[in-house]
């Protein structure tokens, strides 16, 4: 276990380093001058002296490698510099906005698992009846409909037609928790449907694979009740692929949350990134991409580690 842990840790650190470097290179090698953007873009027609001055103020006149090492050093200290546009600290802006994104992603994953897993178990258990094709078709629909279509459909139904829930906006849960819940419900539900469908499908196929094995027949023939067989034996063995899918869903959730934040005017980290990209705000883009990619890589790392912990065969690979 020790050797495996060390190997995985090193490869995770290397991957993080690569991501951070690629982000830096992409930003600096792709066309578009942030100094111009700060001065109002090419249309504002700023004088070359102004541009040079801004470049100097932002440190963009230094050689690329100096900027690179400066950037690496700051990242280690979790300091992503200040926004080119409004001079605010990027780290503290991310610190306020990331939790808001997490406030819709994390509940959405929980909802997806809590609904998707039982549905998958039911579908596998009643494979011969109408229940399975019904649940499976709903699942297929669930990951075929784009998340922004689901979002708009929910807005139309629950905000415009029924008037039950507000269509957009965000309220700090510390100020008014019930109002926050009202506003977060639709984003969370729209985000959870896709992963719910995937969890359901994965649970179903994983359970079906296990149900065909000999130990299930043994368990049944020694007189165990159907519930005990399903939950104590089958589900335990079927859990590994299910956990993988749920963990991998995290990336898809981030993708979905970009669209959900845009529909519901949710001031999370994605909205922050989209605005920053529009105005070439390098430090903000670097900061957000580095943080999001790191979270993503760390989750994959934790998933792998927990596998090795639960399934000794992986350690010896």
């Amino acid at each position: 276990m020790g050797a495996y842990l060390v190997r995985r840790t090193i490869s995770t650190i290397v991957l993080l380093y690569l991501i951070i470097t690629v982000v830096f290179l992409l930003l600096h090698l792709l066309p578009g001058d942030p100094a111009l953007a700060v001065l109002g873009g090419i249309d504002a027609n700023p004088s070359p002296e102004d541009v040079a001055q801004v470049r100097e103020r932002l440190g963009l006149d230094r050689p690329l490698y100096v900027q690179y090492f400066d950037y690496l050093g700051n990242i280690v200290r979790l300091d992503f510099g200040e926004s080119f546009v409004n001079g605010r600290s990027v780290s503290s802006d991310i610190a306020t906005r990331l939790p808001r994104t997490m406030m819709i992603i994390v509940p959405a994953i929980i909802v997806a698992v809590l609904v998707g897993m039982p549905l998958g178990i039911i579908a596998a258990r009643y494979r011969q009846s109408v229940v399975d094709p019904m649940v499976s078709s709903i699942a297929l629909l669930g990951f075929s409909v784009p998340v922004f279509v689901i979002g708009l459909l929910l807005v139309y139904l629950f905000s415009i037609q029924l008037g039950w829930l507000p269509a957009n906006g965000y309220i700090d849960p510390r100020d008014d928790f019930p109002e926050f819940l009202k506003r977060a419900t639709l984003p969370i539900v729209s985000l959870s449907l896709g992963p719910m469908a995937l969890t359901m499908r994965m649970t179903r196929s994983s359970m079906l694979e296990q149900l065909g094995l000999d130990y299930v027949r043994t368990a049944r023939s020694k007189g165990l009740s159907e519930l005990t067989t399903l939950y104590r034996h089958v589900l335990r063995n079927a859990l590994l692929p299910i956990v993988t899918i749920v963990a991998l869903q995290f990336g898809a959730m981030f993708a979905g949350s970009v669209l959900v934040e845009s529909i519901f005017n949710w001031p999370g980290v994605n909205a922050y990134l989209l605005t920053a990209i529009g105005v070439r705000d390098y430090p903000v883009v670097q900061g957000v991409v580095a943080v999001v990619a790191s979270i993503f890589v760390l989750i994959n790392f934790l998933t792998d580690i927990s596998f090795a912990f639960f399934d000794p065969r992986i350690r010896h690979d």
Binding site: L141, F148, V149
Partner: protein, 300 residues
Amino acid sequence: MEQLRTVGASTTDLREDRHPRFEIIRDWLHWFFTNPRVFISGGFIILLCLAAIAAPIITSSDPSLIRADQRLLPPGDGGFLGTDEFGRDLFARIIYGARLTMIVSLSSVMIAAVLGLVMGMAAAYFKSPTDTVLMRFADAILSFPPILLAIFVISFWGSSVINVIMVIGLLYTPRFQRVAYSTTLAVQENDYVLAARAIGSKSTRILRLGILPNILAPSIVQFSLAMGTAILLESGLSFLGLGPPPDIPSWGRSIQQASRFLSQHPWGVFWPSLVISMTVLAFNILGDALRDRLDPRLRS
């Protein structure tokens, strides 16, 4: 043993040895017409492709024609499906939008499939260091949430059709690469590959004739499923305004623009949403059906 000859023999012998071609086609046609889910989903995709190609024949209206006196009309008035906020014909915009969707998703998935198959096979066949470099590349791409990378790259390259195709192609390469990699690892352990090596066949020949035919089946399944997600990604980017330029009709952008008029004119959101969902659903159903047919593990 038949495969041993496939690798060693000349290509002319090979054709005689194979299952006669017309029989394979007949089997596939039989499969297509006797499976309702395949017939409906495949038929829908074929219809959509035909509509995209024959767009000017199907509808005489210009999808970009702005008619200020016919804004936000319900279906029936001012066109089969109604009009959008500029008075443009929604039916024409959806039919022309199919062109963009099909071109973008088909070309990007093609790029991904070719790159992924070559890189996956090469990584498995040539082992380290090719293996390490190529598979780390796949890991690096997979470690970014896909839409984040797409937004990031497109906002710097600019949002043209070509750029969207290239980004989606690049993002989907690792999927095919992984499928090709794991199947190649398994297939190349077969004796016939060893035999081909022993008689001095070139690596390219072994890969092309001995390994490629064996990894095609899982790749075809992957292709159909990737088409579905590529359409989702393209429409998502268009929805965020990062897709192709606004003068090209696109489903995702239509939804985004119509969403501002959701309360008074839901049709503008409804029709393109329905078409996107049905198209993705069709590719997913087709992918599932192909998997059932092609995956030997399920064929017992």
